[in-house]
Amino acid sequence: MSSPTVDLIEYDDAVARFDPVIGIEVHVELGTRTKMFCPAEAVFGEEPNTAVSPVSLGLPGALPVVNGTAVEYAIRIGLALNCSIAETCRFARKNYFYPDVPKNFQTSQYDEPIAFDGYLDVELGDGTIFRVEIERAHMEEDAGKNTHVGGATGRIHGAEYSLVDYNRAGIPLVEIVTRPITGAGARAPEVARAYVQTLRDIFRTLGVSEARMERGNVRADVNLSLRDTPESPLGTRTETKNVNSFRSVERAVRYEVSRQAAILAAGGTITQETRHWHEDTGTTTAGRVKSDAEDYRYFPEPDLVPVAPSRAWVEEIRSGLPEMPVARRNRLQSVWGYADAEMRDVVNAGAIDLIEATVAAGTAPAAARKWWMGELARSAKTDQVELEDLRVTPAQIAELQGLVDSGRLNDKLARQVLEGVLAGEGSPGQVVVARGLEVVSDDGALLAAIDAALAAQPDVVAKVRSGNLGPVGAIIGAVMKATKGQADAGRVRALVVERIGTDG
């Protein structure tokens, strides 16, 4: 099936003419050991249908029981998103027919989500803070996985039949729904991306999910509509499903802005529909039109009693919440005394944990930043790896800086030692010994080199002796060269001046 040519308007022109409004639904798979409503193990990548129970298969008569840990994780997420936690809430059946939902309904929450009315402050690339309002976060279960067999592309169209694996069916999910996100203007794609990325960081900080995008632990549906001006009523939206990387979230918003703008500019209307995201081409195509098929006939789940988290329990969970990423970053910036731009670079480079560990091992914050954002950042870039994947630990950097602080290494030698550490030659101390890189601090050895240099440049000695200290650098340079850089330049200077002064 070939897709018809789609008219697009350049992104910049589109946002100059229209005001984009986004809305994002994020599903996160919780990292509980068992499923939401049965004790089958929550696994990834196991043999098909080997982590299932009568409940996750939807066998007749099977009765669900709520996983208490999943409820606690959902409350943690709600609290981290500044939500109110429901005094009481219940599950509901969302009825639809699809092979990956064996019961013919998904157990979800409808009119009574466990968490509601929150917000999340996200930081954009230039440090701007943008507040995203959260409408609700509710508990539900994941579906099984369909594999389409036959047909040319492995996609659903043209498939002869499908195979279903229910290992994923019933894994606990929390779905987080934003209110319409207005006021982002041309930065809507960046806001969308930063929001999903911030959520991912929070899931990890809370310890409620591994939140691995590539495994589909976190999945985003991106709603987008355009309107003439920020004062106009909301336009008709499309919902692009299953956009599963940060970069794709940003691209999907950009693409839909350009596509919808072209339709509206030509006098057309937007069809309210779901759209499919195509990672390879960076485009979306029409899916299901929202209509009667949307009637899920929700009703309260009769097999599960309400969840009514006591206020004492909620407060206990709140008091046990770890520090959120943005709060931690602000605290560390203030403790470390970094400028805003410096801190931003540290965060963007993924160096915050590494610097924290280096500082904890005894290094001054400025020196820790100098290493990780300087030599080590360059090395990581050259090798095309992440900083944390370099063959050096924060403790080793602290050891290296300790050698500099104690005068046993100068900066140049320290860089050579680091080179050795990165090459796998051992700890800084071992590299110093193995490569013989220590600063020459033995005055006797230095004086011998200084005397040789003085003898070789009598004209310089004469100038210095007559009170012109300028040319003394030539002597120091000669000494450094003679000691292969392994001398402390400050000590050499002191000795040279002393030598010339007392010699005559």
Partner: protein, 98 residues
């Protein structure tokens, strides 16, 4: 007084994937109407200050510990499946996504 039309019954049946004959639609519209009217009489008694009841049992927070139990053996899992392949349930062609 009929509150439930034949068309509404047909629509709900279609959503539930229940294939009803014209005769069945006529009969069920009448029968379901009796049920709807009975429920309506309850609404007359229930004043706005009476909260809706979805669960008759006075129970909340029935939770299970997050401790895994062994999976059903794969042979049992697939025993009732009309068809399977590579340990997966084989289902007919799916028309339309979602």
């Amino acid at each position: 007084m009929s509150t439930l039309s034949r068309d509404e019954v047909a629509r709900v049946a279609a959503l539930a994937r229940i294939d009803l004959t014209p005769d069945e639609l006529d009969r069920l519209a009448g029968e379901l109407d009796v049920i709807v009217e009975s429920v309506a009489r309850v609404s007359e008694v229930a004043t706005p200050d009476v909260p809706a009841t979805s669960h008759p049992l006075p129970l909340t927070n029935v939770f299970r510990a997050d401790v895994p139990e062994p999976s059903l053996p794969i042979a049992d899992v697939l025993r009732s499946a009309p068809a399977s392949e590579d340990g997966k349930f084989l289902v007919p062609q799916i028309l339309g996504e979602e």
